[in-house]
Symmetry: C2
Subunit: 559 residues, 2 copies
Amino acid sequence: MSQQAQQMLDRHRETLDQAVEAITTRGYWSPYPESIKKYPEEAVKGAPARFEALLRQPFSLKTPAVAGQVGAEVSPYGFELGVTYDQPEQGALITAMQAAMPAWRDAGAEARVGVCLEILARLNALSPDIAQAVTHTSGQAPMMAFQAGGPHAQDRGLEAVAYAWQAMSRVPAAAKWVKPQGKHDPLVLDKRYHIVPRGIALVVACSTFPTWNTYPGLFASLVTGNPVILKPHPGAILPVAMTARVAQEVLEEAGFDPCLVSLVPDSAEAPVTKALALNPAVKLIDFTGSNAFGEWLECNATQARVFTEKAGINTVIIDSVEQIKPVAQNLAFGLSLYSGQMCTTTQAIYVPKEGIQTAEGPLSFDEVAGALAKAVEKFLSDNDRACAVLGAIQAPATAQRIEACRELGEVLLDSETREHAQFPKARVHTPLLLKVDASQRDAFSEERFGPISFVIATDSTAHSIELAREVIGEKGAITLGAYTTDDAVADQFERLAMDVAAPLSLNLDGGIFVNQSAAFSDFHATGGNPAANASLCDQAFVTPRFVVVQSRRHAPVEA
Amino acid sequence: MSQQAQQMLDRHRETLDQAVEAITTRGYWSPYPESIKKYPEEAVKGAPARFEALLRQPFSLKTPAVAGQVGAEVSPYGFELGVTYDQPEQGALITAMQAAMPAWRDAGAEARVGVCLEILARLNALSPDIAQAVTHTSGQAPMMAFQAGGPHAQDRGLEAVAYAWQAMSRVPAAAKWVKPQGKHDPLVLDKRYHIVPRGIALVVACSTFPTWNTYPGLFASLVTGNPVILKPHPGAILPVAMTARVAQEVLEEAGFDPCLVSLVPDSAEAPVTKALALNPAVKLIDFTGSNAFGEWLECNATQARVFTEKAGINTVIIDSVEQIKPVAQNLAFGLSLYSGQMCTTTQAIYVPKEGIQTAEGPLSFDEVAGALAKAVEKFLSDNDRACAVLGAIQAPATAQRIEACRELGEVLLDSETREHAQFPKARVHTPLLLKVDASQRDAFSEERFGPISFVIATDSTAHSIELAREVIGEKGAITLGAYTTDDAVADQFERLAMDVAAPLSLNLDGGIFVNQSAAFSDFHATGGNPAANASLCDQAFVTPRFVVVQSRRHAPVEA
């Protein structure tokens, strides 16, 4: 191992050990503080100016051959970034990355882990800057951009490294195989086992969580020896480019070819993802985005292992509650956070049309729906707080979808545009909440990306469960929330979760929300329903990224 | 857990623990004796009569709905088996298997491991009978049919159980998540984690190794909670049917639906595999067989995880040797064993046209090729020994291929038909060994299944390595052998093995052969080249067969 890689590993060995322990015990843990107060004041205060200094000019990365320039990012807060990026020539890039692979492979798992942990540590230090880039590409509000774009994304990257390290370190470097032969001398073979990467890895990033959804695939593939092409969404290149730069710097310092992590940006007008995904050299693909494209990859990029995070019909079922107010407040926060643009945001809320029981007496369907609408309205009544929670709508199409969906049901709470104090052109919209009957399945059983949710009147909780089973079975879900005060019904929810392979959040009415997922403890998505074919992270997310190549020979006869 | 499943687990706990230890340390280990002498005399002696008693009548298994009868197996030793099997109605079968799945899932990993280990133990006791069925379907000679069809197949099944148990037991059943909140009380969640199967698993068996290649997929899928459809090759149903019967008996005794392991036999005239493979309920497919069908599955059954063992151009490179004789003897045995019908048999043997160095002086190319031809000839000169090693040719097409390939090069050793003492109609053929030039790439770089091999004259060992790199890169290989007395060249072979992801056997000249692969120590295939997309067994073989579904709720406030 190079001295540099060894030093990197030594520096982060304790973090690695703790991460492996965390994925095993799955309690709360993170090495990357989520409170911005824990970061150096200068780093935090200087971030906006450093972001400003990146605008309206080229952002340079190392690449073997440049084919052209792209870059037309527009902040959802209302201004053009004006950053341009080199687009590498694909053939030359893949040739260079393949040439770089053997040295990265032969460095061994420990060296690769050291390098990856150093990249993560430097990304962590860069969190305030990355938060700026995430804010002005995804539209996330600053605090969320900091947490989800910085430490939480780094957590997910580290989690992938920990899983991969656990898997790789379970393969011994060597073994002596001694087979008894009765009265004769035993047969003795010396065996060696090598971790061998699959080939070029492609990570297709999304516009809403350009780092959080990218780091697991990036680090899982890289640490197992595969060179990684980062293909950012044309609307959110900068956070991925900043990540690539950090990775390239660390790789180079450790004595490796920086092109082992390469950025291939494109434009909406001339997308390159399909061509990259079908390149025979590409053996691993991580994708976050639409169902249509995810399914296209699953069905067409058959030369590669494809890991997809798509979308589904995230569901909440309300059977009964102790008190409606904290439940409504909890759901209201979840619906408002990042204007419903999380892959975990609830879309379908099933409530029996006869109403529900509470410890404070029965509530009619309309009372439940009204409590929810009122909780959202109240939570967003302070405009500054609203803007700090909602952030901005990433894509104009999402804002248009709010308009288009208004006709799908009876409006319980209408979506409003809001004016952002600092950025008057910001695309800020509050949630749209609609009431529909269970029979209006076309309305609620299609994904409506954005701040659009449905309160659905069902015949009973049994009916709610059956509907959820059917809709999630067909369309998938990344989250499932449920409320009941009845242990028998709770068991039914637990069983539903297993049947449709969706993670269950039961009776959340405090400071935890169905759309939040904690690295090292929560498995994000399961990979077992149509919303995603992979989980962040589990063993299945890392083990297909390498193979074991052995050699064997007769052992020297001992003197 | 049911009392029966618990007893099964208790009975085999030590075997399980040892198997997990074995896959970690990868020394020699097996709980199933490969020597037939270790089995009860009655079991061994009575096997032929028990086999005879199965012939010319229906073989019954449990199934929810019968659509018809199939069965037209013909022993490669020259007689019709006359066994018929129920062919289940697919729709009814899948509905019944899906209905049986939740109870199998909810029983938990320990119960499933107990049941699987009991199935394996009973299969082990049945080894003499299974050997009869393997002999008269695959054509393997009796000793090989016993070892490869019995204990070695059971080893591979147990190995899959051990890997799956290791993976499942790494997921905790529950966790308490405690997130500090500064001066406030911490957020505390109780979490539960469930192992959830993917769905119906399909195992498509082959005619040459109907148990060895079937047990890994069968046990990997079953132990992780998936109901398994066994689809045998129409020419080798009986060994798979006997396996299914044992599995059904044990499942039923343990209180589970026996249809969790179901046989779906078909005929060559009316194959059902494609329809089964594309059934949306089928989520896992294990396949052993032709490249064409394996690639069809990989490209078309995109709703499922597909694990394939296909074929490639198994390769030996000769650079230099201490003594040619033991090397030629070693290779001769490998070429003769089961008449080259192993997926691990060498097809391409690269030798520099200028000859090689040995400790006994230089040898010309023709001397090397001649030594090899002579070693095969001598080894097979005793007809009884020849028949006991060669076995019979499974398919008439393979025998025809020997004829067709004779034209592809200069005949170094011609294939002969042999008469079997006990079975005069047996299809027994000795190996065909051809000499070709490296330029005759079309000859040696297509798979020629059967006892057909090529000694290829290359410009140099560097040229041999380059050719092997290209051919294996394009066509894959399950085995790679190499001979050199030069450590620097050995390093080049080790690097070649990593580059093409083929396991290397270096300088084998004793009682170990390139086409043998030992469970718990040797990774059979790597999954990293076109000959196979999976390895038997590694972590990647088991982890994609289940997902983790979690639930979380606020922890009760402690008094």
